[in-house]
Symmetry: C2
Subunit: 326 residues, 2 copies
C-alpha cells in the first residue's frame, strides 16, 4: 500500500495499534474516561460514549494531546498550526495551553461563534478564512513558512489518529470486551481510523451527512473521492472537509462499512433525543451516529456503541432545534 | 430529639449512615456511578456531580429504588403512592416498573409536561391536582385509604433520605476523600439530609429559591417554618414543597449551613453555563447549587462538589433560557 508521504508529518510514522495503546495511557493520566451510558433504541439496549463531556466538549482533545505532548523542545518553541472548523481547534488549543506551546488555528469565518470564542479563550491565535473560496491548507502553509511551526492536521496525522483511537480502548475497558460495532460521526476519517486500530474485532460504521459522504464513497471506490462542488448545505459543520486523505483511507480500507448518511432532519431528531433522554447537549455533527441509529440505518445490539462526539453548538441554533416539536 | 412519628412510614425507622451505605451497595448493583466532572469557577477548580445522567434524569431514582426494593411481597402487591412535581415521580415509577409494583403518582397539574409524560411512559398512573388550592397530601391519603398502598414520601422518609445519600458515598469514592463541602439544590431536604449522613466530615450547603427557603429558615429558627402563602413565583418547579418535615430537620440541625438562596436569573445563568461549558442539560431546580456557586454565594475549593440534580425541563422553556444571551 502506498501513502502520500507529504501528508504525514514524520514520513516514517504510520498509526499503529501500539500507538493507540500508548495514546490511551497518556490520556488516562490527564483525562478521566468519558461515561458509557446505556440507552434503548427501538427496544434494543445499546450504549452511547459521551465525548461531549470532555473538557473542550469534543473527542478532539485526544488527538491534540497525543500529538502535542510528543513534540520535542525545539518543535514546541516554534509552535503549532491547525486548520479546523472548531473542535480540533479547541483540542489543539487546550493541549497547547497546558504545554505552553504557541498555537495558531486557521478557522472558517462561518464556523459557529461559540467554537471561535472558545478557541480564543484557550489562548490560541485564530486566523479566519472564507469557506468556500480560500484554500485553508494554503493559509496554513503560509503561516508555517513564516514560523517553522508544526502542522497538526485534523485527521491526516498518525498521532491524531492514534489519539482519537484511545476512545476505543476506553470503550473496550468499560464494556469488558470489544464492542460488536462502533457507530461514529465521520468528517475526514481520523476517529474512524483510530477506532479501527483500537478495536480490531469491531465493525466500524462511519456516518456522514448526505452529500458529504466522501469517506464512504472513497471506501466504495478504493480511491480518494472529493466532495462535489455543488454539495448541498448541511448543519453538520464539523463534518465538512472536502476529502479524506490516503493515511485515513489506508487504515479504513476493508475495515469500515461505507454508505451510511443522514439528513439534517435526522440529525435534529437525534439532538432532541439526546436532550430529552440523555440530558446531553450534542452539536449537529456530534449527533450524526445517533441519528443513523434512530433512523434504523445501522444494526444495533447489546455491544453496539454510538459515539456522541461533540457538544459545541451556538445557543440560538440549538434553541431552535430543541423548540421544534418532534 | 422528638420526631413526628406519623410522618415516618415505619415508626422505628430513622435514617442512619449504615442505611446510606446499604443503599449505596444496592444502587451500585443496578446503576453505574454518575460522573464527577471537573470545572473551574472564578479560577477555582472544583467538581460537579452529574446526576442529570441518571436514567430518569435525576437523583430521585436513588431514594425510589432503596425504598421500593425494601418492600415486602404483600406491600408490593398493594402498590405505592407518591406525591411529586416530577422527578420523585419518575424515580418511584422507574423502580416500580422494574420491580413489577403498581404505582400511582399525585402530580400538580402545572408540573412540566415532560415530567408528567415521562412518569406515564414508565407505566405509572398519574393523578393530577391543582397547585395551589388542593392539599396534595390529602389526595394521596384518599388513594391510600382505598388501596392500602404504601406512601413513598418525596423527602420525609428514612429510606428515601438514605437512598439520596448514596450520591455522597459515590462522591467520596470518586474524590478519594470526603468532600470539603457539598452544595446541593434543596426542596424538602431529603438529599441534603442524606448527604449529611453520607459525608459526616463535609459541610452541607442546601440552596433554595428566593422566597422558598423554608429549610434554611427552619434551620435558623430550630423549628418548621412554612413557605409564606404569598411566596414569589420561582422557575424551580422541583424545589417548591410548602415545608420541610421533622425527620429532615432533625438530621440537618447543626449539620447544614442555612441562608443560601438564588434568584431565577442566577438559575438561568447556571443553566447556560451547564449548556456551554459542561454540555449538560439541567432543569432550573437542578441548577440551583451551581447558580449559588457562580454567583459567589458559597466558598469553593478543590474538594467542593456541586450537585446537578435534575435535567427534566420542557424544551420550549429551555430553548428560551438558552437563547437569551448571558
Amino acid at each position: 500500500m502506498r501513502y502520500e508521504r507529504k501528508m504525514i508529518l514524520d514520513p516514517n510514522m504510520m498509526p499503529t495499534r501500539e500507538g493507540v495503546l500508548r495514546a490511551a495511557c497518556k490520556i488516562a493520566e490527564i483525562l478521566p474516561p468519558t461515561p458509557l451510558l446505556p440507552i434503548k433504541i427501538g427496544g434494543v439496549s445499546c450504549w452511547v460514549k459521551a465525548e461531549v463531556l470532555q473538557p473542550v466538549g469534543a473527542f478532539k482533545i485526544r488527538g491534540g494531546w497525543h500529538r502535542l505532548s510528543d513534540l520535542g523542545a525545539e518543535e514546541r518553541a516554534r509552535g503549532v498550526v491547525a486548520v479546523s472548523s472548531g473542535n480540533h481547534a479547541q483540542g489543539v488549543a487546550w493541549a497547547a495551553q497546558r504545554l505552553g506551546i504557541p498555537a495558531t488555528i486557521v478557522m472558517p469565518r462561518n464556523a459557529p461563534e461559540v467554537k471561535i470564542a472558545a478557541t480564543r479563550a484557550l489562548g490560541a491565535e485564530v486566523v479566519l478564512y472564507e469557506r468556500p473560496g480560500e484554500d485553508r491548507d494554503e493559509v496554513a502553509a503560509r503561516l508555517i513558512a513564516l514560523s517553522g511551526a508544526t502542522l497538526v492536521h485534523a485527521f491526516a496525522d498518525a498521532w491524531v489518529i492514534e489519539g482519537q483511537g484511545s476512545a476505543g480502548i476506553e470503550i473496550a475497558a468499560q464494556l469488558g470486551c470489544e464492542p460488536s460495532r462502533v457507530v461514529a460521526p465521520c468528517g475526514g476519517g481520523g476517529l474512524a481510523a483510530g477506532l479501527a486500530l483500537a478495536c480490531p474485532q469491531s465493525a466500524i460504521v462511519p456516518v456522514e451527512p448526505e452529500g458529504w459522504d466522501m469517506v464512504g464513497q472513497s471506501l466504495a471506490k478504493g480511491e480518494i473521492v472529493r466532495v462535489a462542488s455543488d454539495a448541498p448545505a448541511t448543519i453538520c459543520d464539523a463534518l465538512q472537509p472536502p476529502a479524506t486523505r490516503p493515511i485515513n483511507l489506508a487504515v479504513l480500507s476493508g475495515r469500515a462499512d461505507p454508505g451510511v448518511t443522514v439528513s439534517d432532519e435526522e440529525v435534529r431528531a437525534a439532538q432532541r433525543f439526546a436532550f430529552s433522554r440523555l440530558h446531553l447537549v450534542v452539536e449537529p455533527g456530534g449527533a450524526a451516529a445517533l441519528a443513523a441509529a434512530l433512523a434504523g440505518k445501522v444494526a444495533l445490539d447489546a455491544q453496539t456503541v454510538i459515539m456522541l462526539t461533540g457538544g459545541n453548538v451556538d445557543p440560538a441554533q440549538y434553541a431552535q432545534t430543541i423548540a421544534t416539536s418532534n
